[in-house]
């Protein structure tokens, strides 16, 4: 690894539009990625997150807008000249090359001329052996960092999924790029390895201090590794913020639904002109003005608490199923109005046969009829 690594570059996207025929896949994306940031693009499949990454890499040039990496506008540059490295979902290793050959390729492409890469002809180059030695030294340094030094002579087919993943990372790291682009790099790994690689990737990011743009459909990966998360849907960024911001103050129902596991509970409610909000026989009130009409209440599973049955100001529910997660219970219940709820409660005592669910009004989210967050504090009026 070169000790004098270059400072990481930021990435700026302005008004990126991408169309495939009549379909608009990216619909005006503006995004500023800070140097050294770990930014995750997350969203359901087909939301355009992978296309956005491939636009940054230069594989799918945008129809409108501008991509800037560091202080260069790269719109007209081919992928190789954008100074970014990419890790692919399938790892995309060169199948007939050894691990060492795979990691060495980006350096060989840059430092050796075409003639020096040709069979036979390359033997004529006097400087080639020296350059090859330098390259192999760097390859070994990267392999040592990733713990794959003993694998250098193997072919990709002889490696496990986790090992291939590391080789793909090594091939990206050896270039010392301005930014790392990662397209669902963990989704081909089994569950246990995925958790382990999550930690390793986050540590790698910290150690390298490089800019990471990471694409995933898995909100857990997005929440656990990122500095900031951009949640995408239908070619737009719905919300951009820290994982905590997306979790605690979701900008819309879509964001609230996507982030969090188990997903947020949504209760249909009715807002009245006098500021009262009625749901399931409960009466809440908003501090501040609120247009009357249909609204939706969002409750995270941990915002619900067990209460004795028929406590005033609680939701009387019937239990469907209790899942024991060891430290806590997941209680799947249904309200009298027919809405399914999930509550996450500490597994301190056995689950009572009959119970109510108490709501912490400070942790309620309120969404308007258009699905957007309504910024207002809520209170709960308990009948005397």
């Amino acid at each position: 690894m070169p000790t004098n690594r270059r400072p990481p570059a930021g990435i700026t996207l302005r008004g990126i539009v991408k169309r495939y025929g009549p379909a608009t896949v990216l619909d005006g994306i503006d995004l500023d990625i800070a140097p050294g940031e770990f930014l995750t693009l997350v969203g359901p499949s087909g939301c355009g997150k992978s296309t956005l990454l491939r636009t940054i890499a230069g594989f799918e040039p945008q129809d409108e807008g501008q991509v800037r990496i560091g202080d260069r506008v790269v719109d007209r540059l081919p992928p190789a000249e954008r100074d970014v490295a990419m890790v692919f979902q399938s790892y995309a290793l060169y199948p007939h090359m050894t691990v060492a050959g795979n990691i060495a390729t980006p350096l060989e492409m840059r430092r050796l001329s075409l003639a020096e890469r040709l069979p036979l002809l390359r033997l004529a180059s006097p400087r080639r052996p020296r350059i090859r030695r330098e390259i192999m030294a760097e390859v070994e340094a990267v392999a040592r960092q990733l713990d794959i030094l003993p694998l250098l002579a193997r072919k990709p087919a002889q490696l496990s999924g986790g090992q291939r993943q590391r080789v793909a990372l090594g091939r990206a790291m050896v270039r010392d790029p301005a930014a790392f682009l990662m397209d669902e790099p963990l989704s081909n790994l089994d569950a246990r390895l995925r958790v382990q690689m999550r930690t390793e990737l986050a540590e790698l990011h910290k150690r390298l201090g490089a800019t990471f743009v990471y694409v995933t459909h898995d909100q857990v990966e997005a929440m656990t590794m990122s500095d900031r998360v951009a949640l995408m849907e239908a070619g737009r960024i719905l919300q951009l913020g820290t994982p905590a911001a997306l979790y605690d103050t979701p900008a819309s129902i879509s964001v609230a639904r996507f982030i969090g596991s188990p997903p947020i509970n949504l209760l249909p409610a009715e807002a009245r002109a006098d500021g009262a909000i009625m749901t399931e026989g409960l009466r809440l009130h908003a501090h501040g003005a609120l247009p009357a009409g249909r609204v939706t209440l969002g409750l995270r599973p941990e915002a619900l608490e067990l209460a004795p049955p028929e406590t005033p100001g609680t939701l009387p529910v019937s239990l469907r199923r209790a899942e024991n997660l060891g430290a806590e219970w997941l209680l799947h219940a249904v309200t009298p109005g027919g809405t399914d709820l999930v509550a996450r409660v500490p597994a301190t005592a056995p689950v009572p046969e009959r119970f109510s669910l108490a709501i912490d009004p400070a942790r309620l989210h309120l969404f308007g009829a258009d699905g957007q967050r309504l910024v207002t504090r809520l209170g709960l009026r308990v009948p005397a």
Partner: protein, 276 residues
């Protein structure tokens, strides 16, 4: 259950064996005749195994009293020349048809499919006239040129390249490889089974071809094995079937040896299992 399995196995092996005998019989007959003394070939008494081993004189006549050595060399030059140019053009074309996006790609591929339907006899006359006009008849170029572009090869390799993972190509582009380097450093090595299969098809077809050499070759210096055997039969040794069969055996030997050497790759190539 087990009895039926055994019976089925016996039956299928019997059928396969019969097929194998049927296929191999002409070859064995050729080999046996090539070591038979002349008096026994048309003799009234039939022996499966020759009574006297006449292989030495038959093969000597075939190699010394004919144009065969020269023709074998010519055949090798022509076949390898054709194959080299075919691969040089068919592999990049097939890669472009399989993996690059450009206008008219489907149309061009349609032309390739159309080309598959055209036998050599159709363009033979214009090709002959063209070569005659250019004064190129009776040359290696005339023997090889009509086969330089192989739509069959393009089709075969295209089907093979289609299964090559796109992400690997993207990774290569990001690493700085151009499309030609991708073709020869990544796609071609992965297509080795297909290349082996195609090579055998190509070499067998052109080694055995009689039609085209018969049209463009007139001199003994440019003769190829199939022509040499034809000439051998017509010439003074015409009645010597032992020597003729020896010549035929010598001619087929390289193909058979080649097939056995590349058998595994050949089968893998035509069953079309992609890379990995």
């Amino acid at each position: 259950m087990r009895r039926r399995g055994l019976l089925g196995a016996l039956l299928s092996h019997a059928v396969l064996l019969a097929g194998a005998v049927l296929m191999a019989a002409p070859f064995l007959w050729m080999l046996l005749t090539s070591i038979r003394p002349p008096e026994e070939v048309f003799g009234t008494v039939f022996n499966l195994i020759p009574t006297r081993f006449a292989g030495y004189e038959n093969y000597r006549v075939a190699l010394v009293e004919s144009n065969l050595p020269r023709a074998l060399l010519n055949g090798a030059i022509v076949c390898l020349g054709i194959l080299a140019v075919q691969l040089l053009f068919a592999i990049p074309s097939a890669y472009a048809l399989a993996k690059l996006k450009f206008r008219g790609r489907e149309w061009l591929f349609g032309l390739v499919l159309f080309g598959l339907c055209v036998p050599i006899q159709v363009p033979a006359l214009p090709l002959y006239l063209g070569l005659a006009q250019a004064g190129l008849l009776d040359s290696f170029f005339a023997l090889m040129a009509p086969f330089f572009l192989t739509v069959f090869g393009m089709f075969l390799f295209r089907q093979f390249f289609r299964s090559y993972p796109d992400e690997v190509l993207d990774a290569a582009r990001l690493d700085g490889m151009g499309e030609f380097e991708i073709v020869w450093r990544l796609a071609a090595p992965a297509a080795l089974p297909a290349i082996a299969a195609f090579s055998i098809f190509s070499i067998v077809a052109h080694w055995n071809d009689l039609y085209w050499p018969l049209i463009v070759v007139t001199s003994a210096e440019r003769s190829v094995p199939s022509l040499a055997i034809l000439a051998f039969r017509d010439s003074e040794t015409g009645g010597n079937y032992g020597a003729l069969m020896a010549a035929a055996a010598i001619t087929t030997a390289p193909l058979i040896i080649g097939f056995f050497a590349a058998r595994r790759a050949f089968l893998r190539g035509i069953t079309m299992t992609g890379p990995r």
